[in-house]
Amino acid sequence: MGPYLIRRLGLMVLTLTVTSVLVFVIIQLPPGDYLTTYIEELRAQGEMVPQERIDYMREQYGLDKTLVQQYFVWAGGLLVGDLGYSFEHDVPVEALIGDVFILTLVVNAATVLFVYIVAFPIGLYTATHRYSIGDYGLTFIGFLGLATPNFLLALILLYLANRWFGTSIGGLMDPSYLDAPWGVGKVLSVIEHLWVPVVVIGTAGTAAMIRRLRANLLDELNRPYVTTGRAKGLPPTRLLVKYPLRMALNPFVADIGNLLPQLVSGSVIVSAIMSLPTTGPLLLRALAAQDYYVAGAMLMFLALLTVVGQFVSDVLLAVLDPRIRLGGGLAK
């Protein structure tokens, strides 16, 4: 277990390092920087901007350094929790994010839970009732879920939620709780609003998960040991749960590696549409305004979310299935 853990941890650190370089390059890609735009704006308003002030600001924001130096300043800051400075809002990025990271985490965790809770029984049903009407119907719905752009599903569900349950449109809590401190009422309001984004974000992932669980389970159900068990008179449910289901569950757990990036991608766009107080809208606005430390912080956080999530699932899987630890240790 030890060597595997170290190897896996190393990969995670490597991934995050490469990601930080990638993110830094991407946010530096747009021509010009925020300061140039800002000064031009001031000049356009007829304000005199003395050269000393420009130089001072340049130095203040570290824009006079080379790109490589800027990267190390930025990445070093990330390590100690200094996310940089928002040009647009004129505050440190940390002041801007508030509950954003926590709520993003809540939304994504809830979605993962939703995917597993829904996909598991349906996958089980479709595999054991192969080619029945239920199987065809659920498979069809699953395909629709895969094909619908989730942001449009969001609009439709929001409309329905508002119509039937009177849930306020958009946001992750009732507007009256926006500035209120956290309390029972606020948490309840969040839970009430949470289901729409969770369903919307989770639909595509659930559909994919159902198909994969069904395929895995079908493979296992055709194995000779199942026939043997049946011949020996094992009750069907016990036979299913004790052997094939266990085997089919491993890929189910391992699949979080595919699931998480997909969910995070989905959550970004859905939350941008529904104006959830999560990373999505903030990222979108930062990208549009070239407020690149905010964009960088959001991108890094989203990457961190998936990478750490995958790390946790890999470790879980290694605990469940010893073959994976061994496979990792044997260098080819």
Binding site: T19, P30, F151, M298
Partner: protein
């Protein structure tokens, strides 16, 4: 056996009489066991023919293939099929609902026609209301001279498959905020949305096959580096990266350049899946004798990979390519929808859907959502066809 048999002699000792009978006639195994013609055809068929036969049995895949062919016909002839050219507006019909086509008026058959829309402004709710005027049927015209357009942007033409009636309108899917015909825009949007996937996948195919091929063929550190790249890219959420990259495309660039940048971005991040598939296949295939033979003759790696190894699983490659196109279509739609991808005047499904961004659109003008149906049809068709191809890629079961 027409002529007299030559005397049978022993192979080593011509004097010794041999008891074994060896027929000197040429032997044809096919004549020995005569198969029914159908079975024989199957035995003689080549690989691609078998794939085609197997695919043909998959009704859903064949149907999806037909749908895709139709969609690409729309891509090719969008200007002719659309009743209105791109950019034409009817300011008298803003947010007009879809007009339906009728055949019988007052019990008499007069061919396909529409009723004109009467417009009133509801002053209380400030809502435009349209009601069909059922007294004046307006027959449609076919293969007619309509509004002029530039076919493929190359030469002037004005032939349309169907034109609005003389002095009337033909809004099969209603109109949008600017009074543009949704059906026409949808057809023009098909051109952009369906080619984004193709160009994007071409880019990702080249990268994926090159990197995956190198990793699988050379192994060692090349493999290790490519593997890490794949793992890192796969563990990152695609959409935020796409968003950040397309936000870096300057707004001032021409729409065509932006279009190619977006496809490039989509392709740049999408290759790991393909690279992984190529790599795992090559790892096994590179041990084959014919590869060693090619190496000994002096073929270079690029030739061995491209000419001898890849054709082994080209059908698998086609299947996985087909399965990755929907992701690109959805990606373009999402980016354009967020305002980071393509922008008007370029018309794609995603650009059209930006109009349907708020609840108001869903409630009041549901026809603005029709591009969503187009997206779903295209995505499902690619998925079903890809599934069928994947099953058919191994026809020897």
């Amino acid at each position: 056996m027409s002529e007299a048999n030559p005397p049978i002699v022993h192979a080593l000792d011509p004097d010794r009489p041999d008891r074994h009978f060896v027929c000197p006639e040429p032997f044809d195994p096919a004549a020995e066991e005569v198969l029914p013609p159908a079975r024989q055809r199957e035995m003689m068929a080549g690989y691609w023919r078998l794939v085609w036969w197997k695919l043909r049995r998959h009704k859903l895949a064949v149907g999806s293939g037909v749908v895709l062919i139709l969609l690409y016909l729309v891509v090719a002839f969008a200007e002719v099929l659309a009743p209105y050219p791109l950019g034409s507006r009817d300011t008298d019909h803003i947010y007009a609902p879809p007009q339906s086509v009728h055949l019988f008026h007052d019990g008499a058959f007069i061919g396909p026609y529409v009723y004109p829309l009467d417009y009133t402004l509801d002053m209380v709710r400030l809502k435009r209301e349209y009601a069909p005027d059922t007294t004046r049927p307006q027959p449609l015209r076919f293969f007619c001279a309509g509004l002029p357009y530039r076919f493929w942007g190359l030469f002037e033409a004005n032939v349309h498959l169907v034109c609005p009636p003389e002095g009337g309108t033909l809004f099969l899917l209603g109109t949008d905020r600017l009074g543009q015909d949704m059906a026409s825009r949808l057809m023009h949007g098909t051109r952009v949305s369906m080619t984004v996937g193709l160009i994007g996948i071409a880019i990702s195919f080249v990268i994926g096959v090159t990197l995956g091929g190198m990793a699988g063929y050379f192994g060692g550190w090349v493999d290790a580096v490519v593997q890490r790249m794949i793992e890192i890219l796969r563990s990152l959420p695609e959409l935020p990266l796409w968003m950040a990259l397309s936000a870096a495309v300057p707004v001032t660039w021409s729409p065509i350049v932006v279009f190619f940048c977006i496809t490039l971005i989509l392709g740049l991040i999408d290759w790991p899946g393909l690279a992984r598939a190529v790599r795992s296949k090559l790892l096994a295939l590179r041990e084959e004798d014919y590869v060693t033979a090619a190496q000994l003759i002096g073929a270079r790696p690029a030739r061995i990979i491209g000419r001898h190894l890849l054709p082994n699983f080209s059908s698998h490659l086609i299947a996985s390519v087909t399965l990755s196109i929907p992701g690109m279509i959805l990606g373009e739609t999402a980016l354009s929808f967020l305002g980071l991808g393509l922008r008007p005047p370029v018309t794609s499904w995603g650009v059209m859907l930006t109009e349907a961004q708020n609840i108001e659109a869903v409630v009041l003008y549901p026809w603005l959502m029709t591009p969503m149906l187009a997206v779903m049809v295209a995505v499902l068709a690619f998925n079903f066809l890809g599934d069928g191809l994947r099953d058919a890629a191994d026809p020897y079961d």
